[in-house]
């Protein structure tokens, strides 16, 4: 494990670099896919930032101010914690925070993210944010269940919950090929916890911004930055668990990891722009009736493979 003096700046620098990349990807997707942004605040441009910081601050009647202001910080902190778990090279101890139960810690990050989003919507004490919050919890907890089975499946060939061991187990064959259902199901979780496209039940335009509807400009900016940070953490985690992380020929490990994570982030951004969002109850049925059985199947495939 790296010392805290190396791990913290490294994680934050990578996170910020990744957030810039996410902003660029989002802007590109808007331009190329011909979608008009719902709100210009969502774009991470410098001019936009200046305008946002200058804007007047508003509030609602009797909000829970502490929770409201801290929710973006919690969201961002969870993204940083998730990213810190990712091994940058193949060897034990080559992650900023290398823990024995790394994949379980990522599970805790997912679970606490649902709470951060819920608190963000609940604390403003207003109708639309509250609806977004409740809706998101229902969908978020269900899709999280799917991701848990998928992650257990990914840990099976490694015989360990340690992320470096999971990377090591993909030296011969990536989990993407060994467990073909894994990455697609995990990407859906990514769409949910980064509040994107078909699984954005928290901040969707049909609720006029959902949990962000009553945010003042500064809070909204903080929330959008945290959302980008979570996409970076998720992309790095998906690349580690399913695409072999830093494994690859010729180029050094961290470069491979960055390339793979960038690819996952691009796929998520494009999916978020292209897929339609169904009604929440319909999505709920789809998750429990189709996706959850698929995750069981994924686990069964992984189990049979591990027994062989």
């Amino acid at each position: 494990m790296m010392g805290p003096l190396t791990a913290l700046p490294l994680t934050l620098c990578v996170l910020f670099a990744g957030m810039i990349l996410v902003g660029v990807l989002d802007a590109l997707a808007w331009r190329l896919l011909g979608r008009v942004p719902i709100d210009d605040d969502d774009r991470l441009t410098l001019g936009g930032l200046r305008a946002v910081i200058r804007r007047q601050s508003i509030s609602t009647e009797r909000p829970d101010l502490a929770a409201w202001r801290l929710a973006p910080a919690l969201y961002f902190g969870l993204a940083a914690a998730g990213l810190a778990l990712v091994p940058v090279a193949v060897a034990v101890g080559r992650a900023p925070v290398d823990v024995e139960a790394g994949i379980v810690v990522w599970g805790a990050v997912e679970a606490l993210t649902v709470i951060a989003v819920f608190l963000h919507g609940w604390s403003s004490n207003a109708l639309l944010p509250l609806m977004g919050a409740y809706r998101f919890v229902a969908i978020g907890l269900s899709i999280m269940l799917v991701s848990m089975f998928v992650l257990i499946g990914a840990a099976l060939p490694a015989g360990s919950l340690r992320l470096t061991a999971i990377v090591e187990s993909q030296r011969e064959l990536w989990n993407l090929v060994r467990q073909p259902l894994g990455l697609p199901l995990f990407l859906l979780l990514g769409l949910a916890i980064t509040l994107r496209g078909p699984l954005d039940y928290a901040d969707a335009p049909d609720l006029a911004g959902g949990t962000s509807a009553e945010d003042n400009a500064q809070l909204r900016l903080a929330w959008q930055l945290a959302r980008a940070a979570m996409l970076v953490a998720f992309a790095a985690m998906a690349a580690t668990v399913f695409l072999g992380g830093p494994l690859g020929p010729v180029l050094p490990g961290p470069v491979w990891l960055a390339l793979k994570a960038g690819l996952v982030a691009a796929v998520l951004v494009v999916l978020g722009h292209l897929l339609a969002r169904p009604d929440a109850s319909r999505m709920m049925t789809f998750i429990w009736v189709v996706l959850l059985p698929l995750s069981f199947l994924d686990l069964a495939i992984a189990g049979l493979e591990a027994l062989r």
Binding site: D64, A101, V104, G107, A108, A111, W122
Partner: protein
């Protein structure tokens, strides 16, 4: 006092303080998340004891559990937002007696117990032995707890769902009268 002692006492203080605030706050959602903060501090203490899996699993499970609990409490308690102020305690006399008895009992138990003192060597394997224990000698306890919990959850969902085998559960029910004048009129 080493830094580990300092961290332990800090976590203990957080666990106790947030645990106390659970009963002093005025909203079920806040109460749930304060309880979660308390459990996270306990989970961190378990990590300090070298229980790598159990510590993180406590944090992870409690996050999901408290979220579900907050949601269900708000659903069943008819306080739609959870931000409406309400008193979180009831049956004061009984609660005080039960609390004192439990505290005294648990304290006596903890003080009289001969706690194990076997520091693990650094880098010892702890997760695999835990798995073998849970799915080996402790299988019966582990599985009965799991199945009981599952049955409870299913029952709650079945009892609270509107549609059932015999049609909508609220068929023929009348909403409570808000205006007393409506009740008198047949």
């Amino acid at each position: 006092m080493s830094w580990a002692d300092g961290v332990f006492w800090l976590l203990a203080a957080v666990a106790l303080l947030t645990g106390w605030r659970v009963f002093r706050t005025d909203s079920m959602v806040r109460a749930s998340f304060l309880l979660l903060a308390s459990f996270i501090a306990v989970g961190a203490m378990m990590l300090m004891l070298g229980a790598a899996y159990l510590g993180f699993a406590t944090i992870f499970m409690m996050a999901v559990e408290m979220m579900v609990m907050a949601l269900f409490m708000v659903m069943f308690m008819m306080n739609p937002a959870g931000l409406n102020p309400m008193v979180m305690v009831h049956q004061h006399g009984l609660a005080i007696v039960a609390g004192l008895v439990t505290f005294a009992g648990l304290s006596a138990f903890a003080l009289s117990l001969d706690l194990p003192d076997r520091p693990l060597p650094g880098g010892a394997e702890v997760i695999a032995p835990l798995g073998r224990e849970l799915l080996g000698p402790s299988m019966l306890v582990f599985e009965s707890a799991g199945v009981t919990l599952l049955a409870t959850m299913l029952c709650v969902v079945i009892l609270s769902s509107r549609s059932g085998r015999f049609g909508p559960s609220d068929l023929g029910s009348v909403p409570p009268a808000v205006d007393p004048a409506i009740e008198e009129d047949p």
